[in-house]
Every structure is written in structure tokens, then in C-alpha cells.
């Protein structure tokens, strides 16, 4: 379990050369633009990889690509060519005839030292050439990671965007009756696999968020009686109180460089202001000083600005300010109440929760507040978090007795439930590791 988040686990990625017979480079035809209005999912054939684990790996790759909404994996029953040697050039005509624009072949085997060796090749069937080919070594516990890394490579090669499948999500696992909910910190892969619990459920815990290096989370807990913000080292389980403030601290998030935690601090008059704490020097900076609720701060990816919620104008709206608290400006002007703004990791958009007409909506707007688009509406849903490529959001929706996690892409057309065994809320997506 210690190796769960170890970035060095995938020891080696080697680009596989083009095999004999396909040495003539043709112009690749397979590509997909992720931005754009209507996206037609790309028909792709993902064959079972060779080796005992092969079918399992292929199934995970297939599920990742399918859930992205950008790929339409073709049913294996339609395949004509049986891939005997994943390194040899396939019979492109057999794949073109079933309209597979891209083809994935591969193999998984075990090395003498117990490591897994996995390789894949991505073929452009209409151009008749290999688009990508790589080989990975990983330790045995990381079969699923290997599959996610392959899915990321395929996604990136075809869309030109970074993938987001080899990522994790921290969230609040919820069980028990609504008026006596047990809430636990939990972490899992982005597809819902490999759930691990990080707290025992004795105290209410809320709003976990990843550090940029994925090794720590900051969250809020009632364990001391008074609700406060904490840091948790995921692998060691070491916990630490953030700051020594007189009142409740809540709504924490890391700065993009991981050096600061920004959060709300309750004032004695019942209002809440935004503070940033430097984790090394322990010095704190007050960013807002209003007789209002100022909360849910989120840094821009370059760290120069902060977006937050405030009800200083009457009802909750979204504001942007400099990271030093300067130039506080309201940016949301639509009809409704806005909260939980989160800056996209690409810097171009701000996701939010909006309450309007008795519904809760998840939407995005440009960083000046223009171009608002609602991606998902429901009776009760909130708390968007960005996939590290800035193309997909995850949030939680309360229905049928409790909350569940849902993802939606930026078109708003591809909404997917994230399977969890219990109720789940407050998802926060991990960053990618470079």
C-alpha cells in the first residue's frame, strides 16, 4: 500500500519503434479536436492484449476511453483479424472494414524479477501506420495504473490533450442515516477502483483537496471539537493542524506551488474572511476584511489571483482578487446564487455551483465572468472539481437518499456516474504528475 501514490513506480517508458513493413511514414489521419461543438466519438478497436493479464488491461483501457465520451470502442465480436503478434503490422483492411479508425494492440507479461512489462501499439488504420508505441515496467500492485497510463497515452496521441486517467480522487465517503451520517476521508482511482479510507469516521470530515505533488491533502475536521483545517500526509497518515486560529477554519485549498493553504476563518462577529497561510514560515496573510461571508477561495493556476464566494452584495456571488487581496471584483451577474468557484488548471475557466429556479446547476464561466454555460442541472448537486486537463468536471449529486459522484465534460453532453459502494461527496481530483 505504501507504493499507492509512488510516482516512480512506472520505471520506464520506452518508445517502441515501427516494425518492419510499415517504415514508410504516411500522414496520420486520426485526430480529434476536444474543443469544438459536436464531437463525434472516434471508433476505436482495442484488442485483448497478449498474456494472462491482457484482457484485464484492455478492459480498463476500453472503459477509460469510453467514459471520456471521445471514443467509441468497437465491440470485440465485430473484429475480423485475430491479432497473433501485437508487434507485427495488422491487416489494416480488416479493421477499416469495421470502421475502426484506430487500433490498439499490446501485450503484458511478467519479468523474472516479478515486474510487469506492458507494451502497446496504436495504429492509424486508414493511414496504414503506427501512431504510437511504448513499453512500461511497473511493479505487480499497479496493473490498473499501467492500463490507465496506456489509456492516457492513446487519449493524448489522438486528441492532442493530456489524459487524466492515471489520476486519483479524494472524497468524503458517507454512510448511515441522513441525520446521523458517518463521514470518512477516502481516496480512489478516478474510475472508482482501489478505494482506501484515510479516517475512521468518528469525527465529521469535509472538503478534502490535493496538494500539487499529490502526497498531501488539506481538509476540515471536527476532531478537536471546533471545526478546523488540517493537513494529512497520505502515505504516512501523519496529520497536522493548519495554524492556530481562535475560531473555525474551513474551505481550505493549496496554492499551485504547494507552499500555502488558503482558507476561511470565522470572525467573532459571525462573518468569515479569507486568509492564506505559508506552510513553511507559518505566517498568515489576511486577504479579505468584510462584514460578509467570504469563502471557497481557489487560486488561479499561476498563483496570481484568487476566486471566491462572497455575500457582501446581499446574496452569494463570485469575486476575483489578486493573491494579495487587491482589486476585489464581482464577476458573476446571472440570475441566481453562485458558490464553490474553482479555477480551471488550464487557467481559462472558472467552474461553479449555481442555485437558480429551485435547481442546483454546475457550470463554467470565463475568468471575467462572461460566457457562462450550465453543464448540468439537478435538484441538489454541488462542488465541482477539475480533471487535471481542464476538460472534465466531477461533482456530487444528492438523490435517492444520499450523494453520489458524477463527472461531466465541458460540452455538458457526456455525464457519467462514478461508482462508489457508499454515498460519496466533496470529490477533489488529483493533479497529474509530470
Amino acid at each position: 500500500m505504501r507504493s499507492f501514490l509512488n510516482p516512480l513506480l512506472v520505471l520506464l517508458a520506452v518508445t517502441l519503434g515501427i516494425t518492419a513493413g510499415s517504415a514508410v511514414p504516411a500522414l496520420a489521419k486520426v485526430e480529434l479536436k476536444v474543443t469544438g461543438g459536436n464531437i463525434e466519438p472516434l471508433p476505436i478497436a482495442i484488442t485483448d492484449f497478449q498474456g494472462a493479464l491482457g484482457a484485464q488491461i484492455s478492459a480498463i483501457v476500453t472503459a477509460d476511453l469510453k467514459r471520456s465520451g471521445l471514443f467509441a470502442p468497437i465491440d470485440k465480436g465485430a473484429f475480423i483479424e485475430k491479432i497473433a503478434n501485437p508487434d507485427a503490422q495488422p491487416r489494416f483492411d480488416d479493421w477499416k472494414v469495421i470502421n475502426a479508425q484506430a487500433l490498439v494492440t499490446g501485450s503484458v507479461g511478467k519479468e523474472a524479477d516479478g515486474r510487469i512489462r506492458a507494451q502497446y501499439r496504436l495504429w492509424d488504420t486508414f493511414a496504414g501506420q503506427q501512431m504510437a508505441g511504448e513499453q512500461f515496467f511497473a511493479n505487480d500492485a499497479n496493473q490498473r495504473r499501467v492500463a490507465h497510463i496506456i489509456a492516457d497515452a492513446i487519449y493524448e496521441r489522438i486528441t492532442g490533450e493530456k489524459g487524466y486517467f492515471d489520476t486519483r480522487v479524494v472524497f468524503i465517503d458517507e454512510s448511515g442515516a441522513k441525520n446521523a451520517r458517518k463521514k470518512r476521508l477516502a481516496i480512489m482511482d478516478q474510475d472508482g477502483a482501489n478505494v482506501r479510507y484515510l479516517s475512521d469516521g468518528k469525527s465529521i470530515v469535509l472538503t478534502p483537496r490535493f496538494s500539487p505533488n499529490r502526497q498531501e491533502i488539506t481538509y476540515m475536521s471536527y476532531e478537536s471539537g471546533q471545526p478546523r483545517v488540517y493537513l494529512l500526509q497520505i502515505e504516512t497518515g501523519q496529520r497536522e493542524l493548519v495554524g492556530n486560529f481562535p475560531g473555525m477554519t474551513f474551505a481550505p485549498r493549496f496554492s499551485p506551488d504547494g507552499q500555502k493553504v488558503i482558507m476561511s476563518l470565522l470572525r467573532d462577529d459571525g462573518n468569515s474572511n479569507i486568509f492564506a497561510m505559508d506552510l513553511r514560515s507559518r505566517s498568515t496573510t489576511r486577504l479579505t476584511n468584510s462584514t460578509a461571508i467570504d469563502t471557497s477561495p481557489s487560486y488561479s493556476p499561476d498563483g496570481s489571483k484568487v476566486v471566491f464566494t462572497s455575500d457582501r452584495g446581499g446574496r452569494a456571488q463570485i469575486y476575483v482578487m489578486g493573491a494579495d487581496g487587491s482589486g476585489q471584483t464581482r464577476i458573476s451577474f446571472g440570475d441566481g446564487v453562485y458558490s464553490t468557484p474553482v479555477w480551471s488548471p488550464r487557467g481559462d475557466l472558472i467552474a461553479f455551483t449555481k442555485q437558480s429556479g429551485g435547481e442546483f446547476q454546475i457550470g463554467v464561466m470565463k475568468t471575467d465572468g462572461s460566457g457562462e454555460r450550465i453543464l448540468s442541472s439537478g435538484f441538489q448537486q454541488e462542488g465541482p472539481t477539475w480533471a487535471p486537463n481542464g476538460r472534465v468536471l466531477m461533482f456530487f449529486r444528492d438523490s435517492a437518499g444520499g450523494p453520489k459522484l458524477v463527472s461531466v465534460d465541458l460540452t455538458g453532453r457526456n455525464e457519467q456516474p462514478i461508482p462508489t459502494s457508499n454515498f460519496a461527496s466533496d470529490p477533489a481530483w488529483s493533479p497529474l504528475l509530470e
Binding site: 459571525g270 464553490t340 435517492a400
Partner: protein
């Protein structure tokens, strides 16, 4: 309208909402008196006991949607609370602020905190020593009524004055 459409699409949910509504109704009334709580005889509680406070005085007040102002009915309850608390000075007091589910989690933590502070300030204005009073917000994390409609939400938008034993 969106809600009705959603319910029509999901008969299971209708059944569930109906069930919850019934359970919710059991605790629907403001438990400001012993009779409301189904306890026989308001005088059953020993004067000066925590039960006396909860049953005969009323330990909670309610708020309007997204509001932290103390309503007229709440002022009556809090004045009664202050009188009792000034008489029985052995108790330390924690005022819990709560919100209904019709808001986002972080905002509702702040809203609950503001309700608790408003309640505390009112008690102080009626002579309760601020050194006896602490506040805590539970946001929307501790609902008492669990149905998905207005009757429950109004129950959950509350501040509860709790007695934490012999005070300092």
C-alpha cells in the same frame, strides 16, 4: 417544474420522498413545549435541569431561508432562554448553528456560524455573560429533519442552545 419532472421520471424517488415526509412530520412542530414533545406534564422536568431547559423553555430557534436575523418568535424564545440561563448560572453554553441543505457545503458552514453568532449576541444582549457562551457551526451536516421539502428545511435552519454541564 424541473423537480416535478424529475420525480415523475423516478417513481422510486416519489415513494421515498413520501416516506421521509411522514417521518419528518413526526418532528415537525417546534419543540417549544412539553406537550409538543409528547412528554406528559411540563412540570415533569426538575426546575433548573437540562431537561427543564429543553422542554419548558425551548432550546432552539428557526431562521428564514439564507437569513441570519432573529425572527420575532425566536426573540421570544431567546428572551426566555436568557432569563433561565441567568437564573441557573452553573451551565456553560454552546450555541450550535445549522443550515438547511439548500446551499453549498462551505457556504452553509459560514451561514451556520453566523446564525450561532447572532443567537449568542442576542443572549448576551439579554444579560447572559459572554464568557459562558461558545458557538459552533455544523453547516448542513447535522439535519434533524430528513425529508426533501420545505417543511424539513425550515426545521433544519436552526440555532440550538446546548448546556454543557457546570460552566466556569
Amino acid at each position: 417544474m424541473g423537480r416535478i419532472a424529475a420525480l415523475t421520471r423516478n417513481p422510486v424517488m416519489i415513494a421515498l420522498v413520501a416516506m421521509l415526509a411522514i417521518t419528518g412530520c413526526a418532528s415537525k412542530k417546534t419543540p417549544n413545549s412539553a406537550a409538543d414533545l409528547g412528554l406528559n406534564g411540563a412540570g415533569a422536568a426538575t426546575p433548573g435541569s437540562a431537561q427543564d431547559f429543553t422542554v419548558n423553555i425551548g432550546d432552539r430557534i428557526f431562521f428564514d431561508t439564507d437569513s441570519t436575523s432573529i425572527r420575532a418568535d425566536a426573540q421570544t424564545t431567546l428572551s426566555r432562554q436568557a432569563q433561565w440561563l441567568n437564573q441557573y448560572k452553573q451551565y456553560a453554553i454552546v450555541v450550535e448553528g445549522h443550515a438547511d441543505e439548500r446551499g453549498t457545503r462551505e457556504y452553509n458552514l459560514a451561514l451556520g456560524a453566523r446564525r450561532a453568532a447572532a443567537t449568542r449576541d442576542f443572549l448576551v444582549s439579554k444579560g447572559v455573560s459572554s464568557s459562558r457562551l461558545k458557538t459552533i457551526s455544523y453547516g448542513k451536516e447535522r439535519p434533524v429533519a430528513v425529508c426533501d421539502d420545505i417543511s424539513c428545511w425550515s426545521q433544519n435552519r436552526r440555532a440550538v442552545t446546548t448546556l454543557s454541564g457546570a460552566g466556569s
